[in-house]
Symmetry: C2
DNA sequence: GGCCCGCGTTGACGCAAATCAACGCTCGGC
DNA sequence: GCCGAGCGTTGATTTGCGTCAACGCGGGCC
């Protein structure tokens, strides 16, 4: 295959096969023999930090898998108040909605690379590979469980509990079931993003970080790096309090 | 068919065919010819007001469709704080989770009748009728969109906006796309349920109802009956404010 | 029919988090 | 290397909603 052919198809040969997040993504349900069919219908797009991927209520033509970087999903009120409904990472899925418009906006937090698929192509894929539909249903149920946990946080937790829960959520994701005692977290999103995710203001988030640091529950080598020297202590503080 | 046979099979002949909420439920995706197969695997259970249907973290064997009455879904914190994540009505679905335990608790608000199905039987049904899987995926996406809207409410709206949004949500559901100018709502749940759904206290909910009444935005013939004489005015108040 | 008991309402007060404001640090551009 | 803008932190003050408390009402039960 020549470079020209590569470019015209807008894919890299065997890209899906070599995709580092395939096992975590929707595509995990596509068996090895059908990866070629998958590659036929996907394309890739890059987004700069802060760039919009799509807006809420925009007509939905594509669904996306995050292959690199971090994405925020959000909803807005008329006066500009914002609620971030989720942070996505490589392997996560966005854009599937029942109606023909997106139910939320999406923006790149840092440099993002997405794997894109027309919804009509996805639907054809689903018809040909029922296992992918199972996978999507499973992923949706997981998202829903996470959303319910977030409702509990937003409706019933104090600022301190919200921040601790957020840090634990990040730590658990990074460690992925591991039973580590400590964790070093990278927070690519701004304080403003964290505040809008937790239903707080940036000032309250900042003050809470500071007071957790003073208590020794966390360490803050920089604004985007948080160290949890004792995860168990953080867990105790997050639920007890 | 004799009464004895009726009882032994725990179903009523043609119950699914005559089910008044079938077109709204998961079962809408089961075509007429296969209703018999559906009936083979469903049973019915009754619940008294306040009775628990299942607890959070309980092993999940069954999924349910609400055929009559109102159900609340909730999550608890260790100290008893509660967040209601949704109110269900006839036609709604509950209990499907990826892992083998429920992600939330469920209780009957008033007299409830559920249509029950073993998860293993549901899975077999899904294999035989792919359309049901599509329907479940659609319903999950709808639930997810509702959950995101609720996150916006919980994280970013004032008490007044929360109550107004709640009333509008109920009104829209009752009218079902209708363009009525006014609405009379029945609220089967208690003030405490409403408070735990909106992330408020019962006192704040009560005070907000009272002040909306004084403004003439709503009428309160009784605690469980709310009249919206001018839906547009309520919509304006819910988003502007 | 009278008496509770639970639910809803109302009032007084307190507090956690929001708001308003100022300042420092870091990083990118010239 | 300097400068400015954006982000994060910190401090002072306000406020919306929670907490604590009392009371009214309606419905079920004896």
């Amino acid at each position: 295959m020549t470079d020209a052919q590569d470019r015209s198809s807008n894919t890299v040969a065997n890209a899906c096969e070599r995709c580092s997040v395939r096992h975590r993504a929707m595509c995990a349900a596509v068996d090895f023999d059908h990866l070629g069919a998958l590659e036929q219908i996907v394309s890739h797009r890059q987004f700069a930090p802060g760039q919009s991927i799509f807006d809420e209520s925009e007509p939905a033509d594509y669904v996306y898998n995050v292959s690199n970087g971090d994405v925020r999903l959000y909803k807005l009120l008329a006066d500009g108040r914002r609620q971030i409904t989720g942070f996505l990472r490589p392997g996560d899925f966005l854009g599937l909605v029942k109606q023909d418009t997106y139910a939320y906006g999406a923006e790149a937090i840092d440099a993002v690379e997405l794997c894109c698929m027309r919804i009509v192509d996805l639907e054809r894929l689903l018809r040909e590979m029922p296992a992918v539909r199972d996978r999507l249903l499973d992923m949706s149920r997981d998202e829903l469980a996470a959303a319910q946990e977030q409702m509990l946080l937003l409706g019933r937790k104090s600022a301190r509990e919200k921040v601790l829960s957020f840090l634990l959520l990040r730590a658990r994701h990074d460690l992925d079931l591991d039973e580590a005692e400590s964790a070093a977290l990278d927070l690519p999103m701004s304080r403003s993003d964290i505040a809008d995710y937790l239903g707080l203001t940036i000032e309250t988030v900042s003050r809470t970080f500071t007071s957790l640091k003073e208590e020794g529950l966390i360490d803050l080598p920089s604004a985007q790096h948080v160290v949890l020297p004792n995860i168990e202590a953080v867990e105790a503080a997050a639920s007890a309090d």
